[in-house]
Every structure is written in structure tokens, then in C-alpha cells.
Symmetry: C2
Subunit: 346 residues, 2 copies
């Protein structure tokens, strides 16, 4: 997608290094960060320089390639990368691809093979997202046409499941970008997404593309739905079970409840790499507990006394019953019907 | 309640002035602000130096008394105070009390009468809250006893409906303080409450009293309810209709939905002064839209580009069907049964 009018991907590579857009500096500054070791790749993921399940997977793939350049053991490298973030399944998925593709190769071929695979994982992710946009835009078009092509289409999203969360296009925002390119007037309600304020990333990338949007607190979405000001919700996912339970950024469940209560359709954009085919219940997904300082401090300044404890779960699980449909690279389906789109997983 | 071990009220008066605890400085600093004009009283309410529906009412009552000292017209004074915040009905209620009590009196008696009435409104508020605590504590005691007096009782609250929102005791927190004094082990999940972070006020006042508590993002409450870690929710209200629709801080509706979805009882502590007997539907309540800078800036520093719009509704309406019971100074009742406790309002 575009930064200051120029098309870029969030992750790029050179002969000996990988470069990512540093998301901790956004929206204040567009900074790129290059790294060339496995240790740096782990840090980049853990410290959320990159974030978003698909981009985490892509970055981990490049982490493995860098480890091969360092002549490290493939299993050790994958274990280190896997330990950085516990919830997103794309991470495991990408590492499995890399391990399976590299483990039986030795010598100089090993690095070449790892690089080729990492490049493929990145390209596949961009294509997958483009397909999600292609399948999802019909939902927005249908609202617009039902209204006789009057009035903007209002989409609510939580966290950042846009271009910045992927290699390109985004998941939840791919249908929005495509609608915008088709000339459908679309407006996005952007949840602030505490504690890390990823809504600001969503606002920033929508602004880069000229898509109208409004940032609201995480508290406000239900109210706008009650007022009829949300036509549909689209969110991403860090891990979705084969049964359609959706693990995504903390607070997603509350929006799904509000959507259900107000007959607003609630869609989840899920590349198949974020579907965990081994799980049949969202209750089995480990929920990452992050450092309480994410709430306790604002720009490094403490805002609570030491008598106050902090809880900071990073994700929650939205049960399949609250999800209208899942948008995958192969099309839409009811949350319980994922296997009909991916029969090879049965 | 206590500040550094000393019992104080949030609002106090001297011969010629009124003093309030400056809540914009908390939790960083305990500062008191004195004022002696109607204009200052209006500013104190508008700028949220005081906040919380009951305390707004009490402060407005003193604002009228100050206006009488300035020899201003009672109707003009009430109109100015009423314009400060549109949603809380206690403000209107207190101003009506003052107007009705003062309007037919002239000369020096007018000031004396206004002062006496303001004192009574403050004392009544403290008593009302104490009664709410008395009626509400049984809910916590019942959970504790059902468990064979093992394990703490977990209460979730949104915003600040504690001592700081009233003259003393608080509304939603009054049952918590009373339980704590009775030796029932109680722990409070405190919603951060964006954009103004009133959860920090709740954390601060709970800390002053030694009540264990944990601050969480507004996104997290549903997740904790799914995990069985919330026994009951208690929130305050800025205006509740005669039919039991509850207007309260933005985001309350989302917590009520989550409570309903997880069979967690959801209680609203409502002094009768916050019940609007003229309304039969929450849809009729005007919702205050506050300045977008509350989201756009952190400590005065802009965090969004100018391409980003901001929506900032301060309240939402939780429909009566999601409310288990309302706790008033006369006892508990189902949200639709308020008139059974207040038959004089029929």
C-alpha cells in the first residue's frame, strides 16, 4: 500500500538483511528498521516493532533465513522465534513451513532455500490479503447498492488488521481499500484499541490512502451501533479454531456482542494461515498476558500508585455464534463451515 | 471517606466560599480548590474539576448559594449551571430543589435559605449513598457465603462511581466499602474508562481505603467474565429512566452485554436523584459529545494527524433488559419496578 503516495510493503529484504517499517514510531514518524540476525528478528517481534498475525509470520520466516546465514540450527532458531509471541498461530504456521522446507537441506543450499521460502511466504501473504479484499468488498457493495447508492458505508474495526498487520493490503481492511478504489464511499470507525492504541496505526494507514475514518474509544462502538451508525464490523484474527471461534485483540468479543445485539453483521477476515485446524474450541487458545506497564505508564510516566495492580490480557475469544461469516482467501463462509472451503484439512 | 487516613468529604464550605477536591490533579496530587462565584462554580463543573452525577448536583447547589451571595437572579443562575453538563439528571434535580426553595424569598433571607438548602442536599447525598451501601452489601455477602466464605468476591466497575463521584461513600462503590469494613474479602476490577481515565480515580480512592483492586483496559472485562473471574458488576448512573434504562459512562452498555452473555449479575447503584421520572425510554436522553482532544492528545501532545476525525460521546444507554437490579437508597428492585419503591412518583 501507499506511504506518502509511494507503494511499499511493510517488510522488504536485501542480500544480507531484512527491513521492516518500525510501527512503534508511527504515527509520529515513518522509520524503517533493518536487522541481520536471528536475535534481532526475535526482538523485532517481541517488542512489537512489527505486529499483526500475518506480518509476524512473515517476519519470523525471514528470521529463520537470517539464522541460516548465521549457520544456526534450524530447530533452535524456530524455537526462539516461536517463543516471542504465544497467541498468533501464523507464527507457528510460518515456522513450520520454514522448518519443513529447510530441515533436510545442508550446506549453502540451505540458506538459498530458506530465502526462497521466506520470499514465497511474503508474496503469498500479499496475494492472500488481496483475495480477502476481493471476496469481502461485495459486503460493502451490497450495503451501498441496497441504499440506492446514497450515503457512505460505515465499517467498524478493532485494532489494526490493515496493511500494517500484513505484508500488503491487510486482512480486515483489504475489503475497505478495495471498496475505496471502486469508488464506494466508505467510512471506518476506528477503535482506539487500548492499551497499545493500534487504532492510531489504522487511522494512519487509512489517512495515507485517503479513506475517511473516525477514531473512537473502545467504549463507544456499542453506542454507535445502537444509533444505527455502523453497517458492518470487520476485524482480523490472531488465531481462529476450525469451529470458528475467533481469537483476536482484547475487546473484540465486546464489539461482537454489541453487533449481535443490534443486528449488525460481524465479519472476521482470516487468511487460512491464521486458522488453527487442530483446535475445536477457543478456550484452548493461550492468551498472552502482557506487561502491566502498558497501562501503568503513559510515555514512560507512571500514572498509578504502587497499591494498584494491573491486568493486561492481549486477546480474547469471540465465540463462533457471534460471527456472521469468516472472509478467507477462498471466499466467505459461516464460522462453522470453514472445512467446506478447506476440505483438505478435514 | 479517607484521604491519607483522614475522613473528608469531596465538597466543603466556609462562610464565603466552597472547597472541592480537584479531581483533575488526581492521582498525582491531592489538591483542593476553593471558589466563591457562580462563574467559578460553572467552570468547576464544566472542566470536570468535580465529576460524578451526585457531586455535580451538590456542587451546583452550592453554585446557586454563591450566586445568591452575588445578588444574582435565581433563574439566570440556575440556567447557567444547568448548561454546564447536559446528561446528568442530578444537576437538574439539585437546581430544581434550589430554585423552588429560594425563588419566593427576598432580601438577606434568600442567601441563608440557599446555604441551608445546599448543606441539606450535601448531607442527604452522603446519607443516600450510605443507604445504597447498606442495601447493596448483601449482594457481596451472599456471594461470599455461597462459597463457604472462601475466596475473594470479585466486583467489576466502570468509570468512577465512588466517593469521588459523590459527597461521601459513593454509589456503586458504597457496597464495596461496606463489605470491606465488614471483613468480606472484596477485589475490584477497575475499567480504565477512556478517554478520561476515571478508572484511575477509582483505583486511587480504593487504594486510600486499602481495598484490593486491579486496573484493566475497557476492552478486558468481557474476557474476565468469560473466565469466571467476575462475580458481579456494579456501576453508577448519570440518568436512569422510570422504566430502568440506564444512562452511564460510555462503555457501560458493552459491559452489561458481556455480563448478560456470561450470567454475571449486573447492578446499577442509583440514588433517586439520578432517576428521571419524566422519561420512559433511554433513547430520549441527550448524550453529551465532548471535545475530541480528549482522545487526540495525551498530556497536551497530539497523537493523530489532522486527516483523522474523532468521535467522543461521553455516555451510552444500557437497556433495562440487561440490568439485573437497581440499588436505590430505599432498597433493590428490578429495573422495571422503580415505581414500587417510589410510589409517590407514579
Amino acid at each position: 500500500m501507499k506511504i506518502a503516495g509511494i507503494w511499499r510493503r511493510t517488510i522488504d529484504h536485501a542480500d544480507k538483511s531484512v527491513t521492516v517499517l518500525d510501527q512503534t514510531e508511527l504515527p509520529h514518524q515513518v522509520a524503517w528498521r533493518s536487522f541481520d540476525t536471528l536475535a534481532d528478528a526475535c526482538e523485532v517481534i517481541r517488542d512489537m516493532v512489527v505486529r499483526g498475525a500475518p506480518l509476524i509470520g512473515a517476519t519470523a520466516a525471514w528470521g529463520v533465513a537470517l539464522a541460516m546465514r548465521e549457520n544456526l540450527d534450524i530447530y533452535t532458531a524456530c524455537a526462539k522465534l516461536e517463543a516471542t509471541r504465544p497467541t498468533a498461530v501464523n507464527l507457528k504456521w510460518a515456522l513450520r513451513q520454514m522448518r519443513d522446507g529447510v530441515k533436510d537441506t545442508a550446506g549453502p543450499d540451505r540458506l538459498a532455500r530458506a530465502r526462497a521460502l521466506a520470499i514465497k511466504i511474503c508474496n503469498d501473504d500479499a496475494e492472500t490479503c488481496e483475495e480477502i479484499g476481493h471476496h469481502g468488498v461485495g459486503l460493502l457493495r451490497a450495503v451501498f447498492e441496497r441504499r440506492g447508492k446514497r450515503n457512505r458505508v460505515n465499517v467498524l474495526t478493532h485494532c489494526n488488521a490493515g496493511w500494517l498487520a500484513t505484508v500488503d493490503w491487510g486482512t480486515a481492511l483489504a475489503p475497505v481499500y478495495r471498496a475505496h478504489e471502486e469508488g464506494i464511499p466508505v467510512h471506518v470507525w476506528v477503535d482506539e484499541t487500548r492499551p497499545r492504541n493500534q487504532g492510531l496505526l489504522t487511522a494512519w494507514e487509512l489517512a495515507q490512502h485517503g479513506v475517511p475514518h473516525t477514531v473512537i474509544t473502545d467504549n463507544a462502538g456499542g453506542h454507535y451501533m445502537q444509533r444505527g451508525e455502523v453497517d458492518l464490523c470487520i476485524v482480523g484474527t490472531d488465531r481462529t479454531t476450525r469451529t470458528g471461534d475467533v481469537c483476536n485483540k482484547i475487546g473484540t468479543y465486546l464489539k461482537a456482542l454489541a453487533a449481535h445485539d443490534n443486528q449488525v453483521p460481524f465479519y472476521v477476515a482470516a487468511p487460512s494461515s491464521s486458522i488453527d485446524w487442530t483446535l475445536s474450541s477457543g478456550g484452548e487458545i493461550p492468551i498472552e498476558e502482557r506487561d502491566g506497564d502498558e497501562l501503568r505508564k503513559i510515555r514512560g510516566v507512571g500514572i498509578m500508585t504502587s497499591d494498584t495492580a494491573v491486568g493486561n490480557p492481549a486477546f480474547d475469544v469471540t465465540p463462533a455464534r457471534l460471527v456472521t461469516a469468516i472472509i478467507t482467501e477462498r471466499g466467505l463462509c459461516a464460522p462453522g463451515e470453514l472445512l467446506s472451503l478447506f476440505p483438505e484439512r478435514a
